[in-house]
Structure formats: structure tokens, C-alpha cells
Amino acid sequence: MSAAASRGRAVSSAVGVYVLVLLVLQVFLLTVAVDALLGDDPGLAWVAAGCSALLAAGSLLFERFVKG
């Protein structure tokens, strides 16, 4: 395997792990939103939703760097 291919695989793996971390953060944000719903705090729920949407956009962006 060439050095470039090896580097590409490493970058792909790193991106996968990073997207996985973003996903875990989104699970946390979902629990925050549900907590805000039960606590009648829509402002906090929208902040969590905004952050979650931002992370989803980030995941989509990182997906472009994955090769193979």
C-alpha cells in the first residue's frame, strides 16, 4: 500500500471516529431538549436543536473527506 493510500485510510478512519463523537454529542443534546420540554423551557430546547443541527451539518461536511 502506498504512503498516500495509507494516509487516506487513516484520514477516513479519523473522520469516522469524529462523526461518531458528534453523534454522541447529539444524543446528549436530545436529552437536554427533552429535559427542557418537561421543564417548560422552549428557549433551551431551541438552543439544543440549533446545536444539534449544526453538528449534523458538520457531520455532512466531514463525510466528504472519507475515501473508500
Binding site: 477516513s12 469516522g16 444524543v27 436530545l30 431538549a33 439544543a48 436543536a49 457531520s59 475515501k67
Partner: protein, 165 residues
């Protein structure tokens, strides 16, 4: 008879996967699944936020609770507000201060009780402590104050006027 090595056919060279490997998921596919899940979580969180905005909050209507003389000084009276299913607590502090608040702990909704010696509301589940005057968190895991209920005395009767948002 000798075994003569045979070159694999062209289709095998172009597609060097066995039937077992056809089920394998590539990194790109796996990451796409993750991104799909990410989008789903984002949509779910937005849906929860929309539900939180659209859900009507019942602040309650004015209603009598109890005669003032029936509440001992530094004692409490339990009632339901805004509906009978919503536990609430009225506390009469020394100096005839009246305060009412939801009895549901803002941590995990256990029922709080009044501790007269410290003038605190205490949640027995996880040791959450709230100020009996303001409902603010004094100690423990809760992050939000207890829901306050406005009260006033009319002709010797304590009335609940409405829950504060």
C-alpha cells in the same frame, strides 16, 4: 495430470470480491449511515423543541386553597394546582409570609417536603434542597427552581392566583 494455474476471468479481476465480502460495509457507507443518524437526531431535537414551543402551559385559574387559620405558622398545606393531579405545597413562614410552589422536584419529579427548622424544601430522592421563599435551588442535583404559584389572602382564605412561568 498436473494442475495448470488458470488466470481468473476478467469479471473476477474487475470485481475481486467473494460472496462473503459482498455484505461488507465500506467506510464511506458506514460514515453515511452515521451522517444519516446524525440528521435524524437533529430532526428529532428540532421536533422536541417545536413541541416545547407549541405545548400549552396551564398556568391555572384563581381558586381558593384553604383558610389561613388552618395553616400553622412554619407549617404547610398540601393541595393540587393548577389541576388536582399537580401536587403543590403552601408554606406559612414565621411573619405570616405565604409561599406556594409545585411539589414536583425539578430534577426527577419526586415530591418535595418542607423542612421547618431550615425553612427549606427538600427532595428525599437525591437530596435536592430548595429555598422555601423563592423556590431557588440551594443544594443538590436540581438545576431549576421549583415552580412558583402566586397566592394572596382574601377574607381569611388563601387563594392561588396562577402558576408562574
Amino acid at each position: 495430470m498436473t494442475d495448470v494455474p488458470v488466470d481468473p476471468p476478467k469479471w473476477r479481476r474487475d470485481f475481486p470480491y467473494t460472496s462473503g465480502g459482498e455484505d461488507e460495509v465500506t467506510r464511506r457507507e458506514f460514515t453515511r449511515y452515521l451522517v444519516l443518524a446524525s440528521g435524524t437526531f437533529a430532526a428529532g431535537t428540532v421536533a422536541v423543541a417545536a413541541l416545547a414551543s407549541l405545548r400549552p402551559i396551564n398556568h391555572g385559574k384563581p381558586q381558593p386553597i384553604v383558610a389561613l387559620d388552618d395553616v400553622p405558622v412554619n407549617g404547610t398545606h398540601l393541595f393540587g394546582y393548577p389541576t388536582k393531579d399537580d401536587p403543590a405545597i403552601l408554606v406559612r413562614l414565621p411573619g405570616d409570609e405565604l409561599h406556594a410552589m409545585s411539589q414536583k422536584c425539578t430534577h426527577l419529579s419526586c415530591v418535595v417536603y418542607y423542612r421547618p427548622e431550615a425553612q427549606h424544601m427538600v427532595c428525599p430522592c437525591h437530596e435536592g434542597v430548595f429555598d422555601a421563599r423563592t423556590g431557588d435551588v440551594v443544594a443538590g442535583p436540581p438545576q431549576r427552581p421549583l415552580g412558583r404559584i402566586d397566592v394572596e389572602v382574601r377574607d381569611g382564605v388563601v387563594w392561588a392566583l396562577g402558576a408562574q412561568s
